[in-house]
């Protein structure tokens, strides 16, 4: 049980997929113009990550190592197709904004890398928690970025008005996404530097 909690925590902060591993950056910049979009895509990713991790963990002894990558891609594409049919029913408005990216979950590097590095070697239960942890970490990254951009860009959070001064328009422009992620990454590095005394080398961007 202890290990499972550690796996969850690991995905959330120490190996946060967006800010530490620097995997799947595209959605992190693209859909985070508001918290709501980020939340929606984050939940979709959790769904796909958990179910694909579990599927691969169950069938890992049947998948031949040489065809593992195509097999993983098919598993992911299957679950993405499922979520792509569920989401428009639950929340059609938000789905319209994140539609392309929900379909593109297939090619998110974070999911396939977790299948390759973790779920293909470990049994069902740890794989479930690893998938959940990574998904939560991804959700966390999206929500934080979305909150910062929505707050500064429109003066609102979750659509509720907080500031009524003129908004900083650049934050919701494409450029703002890049800036915010860059600064959050630097902040993560700085915090780690304060705690451990050395500056980590950031992830390989894949």
């Amino acid at each position: 049980m202890n290990r499972n909690i550690q796996l969850l925590w690991n995905g959330l902060i120490p190996e946060n997929p967006i800010f530490r591993l620097a995997l799947s950056m595209c959605p992190a910049v693209a859909v985070t113009t508001s918290v709501e979009n980020g939340l929606m895509l984050g939940l979709a990713v959790i769904f796909v990550q958990v179910f694909s991790s579990c599927t691969v963990a169950i069938f890992r002894s049947y998948i031949h190592p040489r065809i593992r990558i195509p097999a993983y891609v098919i598993v992911i594409a299957l679950w993405v197709t499922v979520i792509d049919m569920i989401l428009p029913v639950i929340s059609p408005d938000v789905y319209k904004k994140v539609e392309l990216f929900v379909k593109l979950i297939v090619v998110f590097a974070i999911i396939i890398s977790r299948l390759e590095l973790f779920a293909s070697r470990e049994p069902l239960v740890p794989s479930f928690f690893d998938g959940l942890g990574m998904g939560l970490g991804f959700l966390f990254g999206l929500v934080v970025t979305g909150a910062i951009r929505e707050f500064f860009g429109t003066g609102r959070i979750f659509g509720f008005e907080i500031l009524d001064s003129g908004p900083l328009l650049i934050m919701i422009l494409p450029a703002g996404g890049f800036f915010v992620i860059g600064f959050i990454m630097a902040a993560f590095n700085w915090i780690e530097y304060k705690i451990t005394g050395k500056i980590p080398t950031s992830g390989g961007a894949h």
Binding site: A22, C26, I74, T81, L104, V107, A109, I112, G177, W190
Partner: protein, 318 residues
């Protein structure tokens, strides 16, 4: 030497494709008008028409060819000095990618009644293709305004040399997979009504092409193969390569439009990679704050590029 020859061959291929595309012209109907802006249509008559007739908006019926029942209201009509060209102004923007028909009722020419004349207004195929190409390449650059393919973008843009190689490889894979995805979707998925399987089919097609490219490059240009290394295989996980077929399907593009979108996406990605690699080579010599070293500063630079690409947003040729 071999490397230069290969890249020249790719370049020639690209140019040849571009020329073929821009030559695909659309056979024009006998009497046709043209879009001036998105709220204006220009039609021209063979003989001078009467001023009072031409300036009456109710003499014109304008509708999209696909649904003739929905008339587009004409706001005003102006006649030029030679009395042969009429500019029709509309309140709402027209859909420039579809075909419109303009009917002129009871045309009066120097007192003579000429009856009804019909004009079809449509962008030529070459215009549409060029618009798509420019759109995918610059205005909606996939990296800087649609934020796709960032993983590879940040991974490969450290050196100019690899970025050029990656750009070319990517463009080739992109165009080929756009063609095959279009064919598969039109002739297999649509025919069997299996549209919901498109994600799985497209990613499979892309994976096959990347594997083929991997095998070919290993033999033809081992140097470049070594340089690209793991990123070649990772093209599979590049969002752009899946996004383009999906966008093509969603916008209902035909074969040539799909190819153009693929080409534009590939070239746009190559431009972004090259620009970024130029800056990052210089960045290595700069004194960057320690916590910003590596990816964080790359993101900030990408943000500046994105700002610069905003300047393209007003660009339109037609």
């Amino acid at each position: 030497m071999k490397k230069i020859r290969l890249s020249r061959a790719f370049l020639a291929l690209g140019v040849a494709l571009l020329v073929t595309l821009s030559c695909v012209s659309y056979s024009e109907a006998s009497s046709s008008g043209s879009f001036k802006k998105d709220t204006e249509i220009t039609i021209s008559f063979s003989a001078p028409v009467d001023d009072s007739w031409a300036k009456n908006p109710s003499n014109y019926n304008v509708f999209q060819k696909t649904d003739p029942d929905i008339k587009v209201p004409v706001e005003s009509a102006t006649l030029d000095a030679r009395r042969t060209t009429v500019d029709l102004k509309f309140q709402d923007p027209l859909n420039l990618s579809s075909e419109y028909t303009v009917e002129a009722k009871d045309v009066l020419s120097d007192g003579k009644l000429l009856g009804k004349l019909e004009f079809s207004v449509k962008k030529s195929q070459a215009q549409i293709l060029l618009t798509i190409l420019l759109g995918a390449m610059l205005i909606n650059n996939f990296v800087f305004t649609k934020y796709l393919g960032l993983c590879i973008f940040f991974g490969v843009s450290q050196k100019k040399e690899t970025s050029i190689g990656m750009g070319i490889t990517f463009t080739v894979v992109m165009v080929l997979s756009a063609i095959f995805c279009w064919a598969l979707y039109t002739y297999v998925l649509l025919a069997l009504q299996l549209q919901f399987l498109k994600i799985i089919v497209f990613i499979g097609t892309v994976a096959i092409f990347v594997q083929a490219m991997d095998t070919i490059l290993r033999k033809v240009n081992p140097y470049l193969f070594k340089k690209l290394g793991v990123y070649l295989v990772l093209i599979v996980t590049n969002c752009i390569i899946l996004a383009v077929p999906l966008i093509n399907v969603d916008s209902g593009y035909g074969l040539f439009e799909s190819i153009t979108e693929g080409l534009g996406a590939g070239v746009g990605f190559a431009i972004a990679l090259f620009l970024m690699s130029c800056v990052r080579e210089k960045l290595e010599l700069c004194r960057v704050p320690a916590v910003f070293k590596g990816l964080p500063i790359a993101f900030v630079v990408a943000g500046l590029f994105a700002l610069a690409f905003l300047g393209f947003s007003g660009l339109s040729i037609f």
